[in-house]
């Protein structure tokens, strides 16, 4: 167990089963946020089986060896705890919050779900039916359609990010309890993950509670290493999909990003802020929404993940403004690529990102998210000392270079979902 820096928050580290644990005590709070990230997201899915990671994650909270689904749910609600499980590109994450005195009971329940799920067949049928309904719903949801179409344009067949975490209908229909059990054992139990606790707790006690909860981590076969070839968007790809009876189009314009562990990632994040991350501080949002009034929302995001996560701009636009909003966004991108932005645009982006690190301290969730990223990608014990400096150190030349390398204005994937576009 090591003691890391104490500013801006104390952080203590330890282990619990196959989890690396980090605890950030925040004196004065009544609750604890607990983020448990398992390295069992889309990246870990077997080729051709998109959706297996999410289905497995869903089944964790549907009954364990000692409690059926109803008993587990009642035990969670007895604590008044909030909990959910989501699957993303890289991880499955159990996000929870409980009152501080209930941490032992809460982690006990989560450990029971993660380590000893029963995978009851009847519960799988419910999860299957709910997931098929969600896929059906997404098929007429402009955001869902745009997301599906964009992924299919940007990633080649077989790539783990080509499908949404909800998966493919055929996989959802055909999945078996045995397949989910195998995924759980092979990916969740063998890879382990990270547990972050932030809130009104004392560090040593929280580490002891975590270690006790996840003691007796079962043995498991070694996880498979998935080889993912590098993907490329070689030319402009565009697809328009009509969704009936809608009034607004959802647009995703995007590229393939870079892994969080890439030394250039912080420069990429700063580039993202200069270009489009914020509706007020970034060039795209400022022009598309604030100056031209073309969209209610326009923003860009870069994924902190393994491999080449999406680096995308999302817009909600009236059909008659779609082409202009896209053209304007690309014009702003060309300004970034050409280095035509003001020095103050970069300074503003850096100020905002550094300032946000301080504002995030207001909530246990904000601190937990910061810690999770650092722990998950093993960014170093001194990450919190260095991160603000890394942001400040990014130069205009680096922003231009990142935009030129990763955001070519003539090679991107463009998905538009909504009413028929106006002529």
């Amino acid at each position: 167990m090591t003691v890391a820096r104490t500013h801006p928050f104390e952080l203590r580290r330890g282990t619990a089963g196959r989890l690396r644990v980090a605890v950030a005590p925040i004196p004065g709070l009544r609750s604890v946020v607990a983020l448990l990230a398992l390295e069992a997201g889309q990246w870990s899915e077997p080729g051709g089986r998109p959706g297996v990671a999410r289905l497995t994650a869903q089944m964790l909270m549907r009954g364990t060896d000692s409690r059926d689904a109803a008993a587990w749910a009642s035990a969670l609600d007895d604590l008044g705890a909030a909990a959910r499980i989501d699957v993303g590109q890289h991880i499955a994450i159990v996000s929870g919050q409980c009152l501080a005195p209930d941490l032992r009971a809460y982690l006990g329940l989560v450990a029971d779900a993660v380590l000893r799920p029963a995978f009851p067949a009847a519960e799988l049928e419910k999860v299957r039916a709910d997931t098929l309904a969600a896929l059906d719903e997404e098929s007429r949801n402009t955001r869902g359609v745009a997301d599906r179409v964009w992924r299919e344009l940007a990633y080649p067949p077989g790539h783990p990010f080509r499908s949404r975490p909800l998966g493919d209908e055929e996989v959802v229909r055909s999945v078996t309890v045995e397949e989910l059990r195998a995924f759980h054992a092979r990916e969740m139990l063998s890879r382990g993950g990270v547990l972050v606790l932030a809130g009104g707790i004392e560090a040593a006690q929280a580490l002891e509670v975590a270690a006790a909860a996840f003691a007796g981590w079962p043995g498991a076969a070694a996880a498979q290493i998935r080889q993912v070839p590098t993907a490329t968007i070689a030319a402009l790809q565009r697809k328009d999909e009509t969704v009936p009876d809608k009034t607004q189009s959802d647009v995703i314009l995007g590229w393939l990003g870079l892994p969080r562990t890439d030394p250039r990632f912080v420069a990429a994040r700063v580039t993202n802020m200069v270009f489009g991350a914020d509706p007020f501080a970034s060039r795209a949002g400022k022009v598309v929404r604030d100056e031209l009034g073309l969209a209610y929302y326009v923003y860009s995001t870069i994924s902190a993940t393994k491999g080449q996560g999406p680096w995308i701009v999302r817009m909600g636009v009236n059909p008659k403004n779609v082409e202009r909003a896209i053209d304007t966004t690309l014009t702003e991108l060309r300004v970034v690529i050409a280095g035509g932005f003001a020095d103050d645009d970069l300074a503003l982006a850096q100020d905002k990102m550094v300032g946000e690190l301080r504002v995030a301290l207001e909530s246990p969730g904000g601190i937990a998210q910061m810690v999770l990223e650092a722990e998950l990608f093993e960014l170093g014990m001194d990450h919190y000392d260095r991160y603000a400096e890394q942001i400040r150190a990014v130069t205009k030349d680096q922003v231009v270079e990142m935009a030129r390398l990763f955001l070519p204005a003539d090679r991107y994937a463009l998905a538009i979902a909504g009413p028929p576009l106006s002529p």
Binding site: I26, P27, G28, R30, Q58, M61, A69, A73, S74, L76, D77, D78, L79, A82, A83, R84, I85, C98, L99, P101, D102, R104, A105, K126, A129, D130, A133, A134, D136, E137, R140, N141, Q205, V243, P244, D245, K246, T247, K286, R289, D290, E291, G293, L294, A295, Y297, G316, N318, N321, L348, D351, K352, G355, E356, R358, V359, L361, E362, S363, P364
Partner: protein
């Protein structure tokens, strides 16, 4: 460690000062992070609008980001962005709120910006035209959501006289016809110290916060004060029904709304607990694991009638709605689901919750309250909402009211609310 519930800190009670111009300031110390939230609340929202001006309060909210003579458009954005601020605004049926969460040493700047735009917003013709398309785009985004489409119809049908029936964002037609002069008149009428209050929560001495606020806002003219809204909703004497049939959704949706009470009513704490007993504290979406022990989750989702169920018991100035929403499976049966919900409502109105079930509900109620106020922004906005509607004068008082709820309170709140004559039922039926 034990499983007892932790009481809120005494510091939750705000220090208060009423300035000579009518602005009331509330200050709460929150010392766990070097951060502060400042929020100005105006007593104006959808409730203050009439047909032809629906959506005006929300439109105006957008225009408050378009500059003053002292801070031209863009100044505010860049200044707050440099601080890493989390800042925004929202409009509800009852109020409009502007807030900034900033590093604590910057909150005086947030106060200055809010004081400036309270009386000096430009609201230029050019900016009104540019923003009109943004607001139409916001509305069109909502229109893509079947739940919004049904909810808007349901609310319109439920209220026959009260402006709550108009919602908040307004009709597209009204937004398209709204004039700069109309918006400016709305601004001058409602945006003044005498029609507003300020909440500051953060890492500073409460007395210092009050002094700083008084120095910043004290010189503003009080304004004329807004006339009270007088559009009482007449009693409803029978069930109303609405059906929306559109292709824009794949799954059927069912909403059931009951006329409820205002936030100051003694039934309110019981209604908050009732909502949790029915659907949990955080909704029943697929990824959520909490709330699955609730009555409607078990009756609808566990049995396969629906994929999720949510219940909202709003806190409003005037009597509003208690709403139950179920999202059905694609081949779901509205009538069967509706009957099942009504059966559950009848049961909970007839018999008090058993001791173990009530303990579970109470724990969720109090824990959710603690979670929300363990962030500075959450604490500030929660306090502001309680003050807006008169539900409580502090988070501590609100907590005490929730903690005092009994199983019989939950039953009697259900019995008082679930009246067929006060019910409006909405079905969203997807077309192929």
């Amino acid at each position: 460690m034990t499983t007892q519930t932790v009481s809120p800190r005494l510091a939750d009670a705000p220090a208060t000062r009423r300035l000579a111009n009518g602005l009331v300031v509330y200050a709460v110390e929150a010392r766990h992070a070097p951060v502060a939230n400042a929020a100005v609340w105006y007593h104006v929202g959808g409730r203050n609008e009439v047909p032809g001006t629906t959506g005006m309060s929300h439109f105006l909210e957008h225009m408050l980001f378009k500059g003053t003579p002292l801070h031209p458009k863009g100044d505010l954005d860049r200044l707050l962005a440099r601080y890493g601020a989390m800042w925004n605004a929202f409009t509800s049926e009852d109020v409009t709120c502007y807030f900034e969460t900033v590093p604590v040493e910057r909150y005086p700047v947030a106060l200055e910006l809010e004081a400036d735009r309270m009386r000096n917003a430009l609201i230029s013709l050019e900016e009104v035209e540019a923003e009109r398309t943004v607001i139409v785009s916001e509305r069109e985004g909502y229109e893509n959501d079947p739940s919004f489409l049904l909810g808007e119809e349901l609310q319109a049908v439920a209220f026959s006289r009260h402006p709550y029936g108009q919602g908040v964002i307004g009709s597209k037609e009204d937004v398209q016809l709204m004039t700069r002069d109309g918006l400016y008149a709305h601004y001058r009428r409602f945006y003044s110290p005498s029609n507003a209050y300020l909440v500051v929560v953060g890492d500073d001495d409460a007395g210092a916060i009050l002094e700083r606020a008084a120095a910043t806002f004290g010189s503003l003219e009080p304004g004329e004060g807004a006339l009270p809204v007088r559009s009482p909703e007449p009693p409803q004497h029978g069930e109303k029904r609405v059906v929306v049939r559109r292709a824009g959704g794949a799954v059927p949706i069912l909403q059931i709304a009951f006329k409820s009470v205002r936030a100051t009513d003694p039934l309110i704490p019981g209604l908050q607990a009732l909502a949790i007993a029915l659907a949990g504290a955080s909704g029943g979406a697929q990824e959520a694991a909490s709330g699955r022990s609730s009555r409607l989750y078990r009756a609808l989702v566990t049995t396969g009638l629906a994929t999720e169920v949510e219940v909202s018991a709003g806190l409003n100035k005037d009597p509003f709605l208690f709403v139950i929403e179920a999202t059905l499976h694609p081949e779901g049966d509205h009538a069967k689901t509706e009957a099942r919900i009504l059966e559950e409502l009848e049961g909970i109105a007839a018999t008090p919750l058993a001791a173990d079930e009530f303990a579970r509900v109470r724990k969720q109620l109090l824990a959710a309250n603690a979670f929300g106020s363990d962030t500075i922004t959450g604490q500030a906005l929660r306090l502001g909402q309680l003050l807006a509607t008169g539900a409580a004068s502090s988070i501590a008082e609100w907590y005490a009211r929730l903690a005092a709820v009994t199983a019989e309170d939950v039953r009697s709140a259900a019995a008082a609310t679930f009246d067929e004559r006060a019910r409006t039922v909405g079905w969203f039926v997807p077309l192929a």
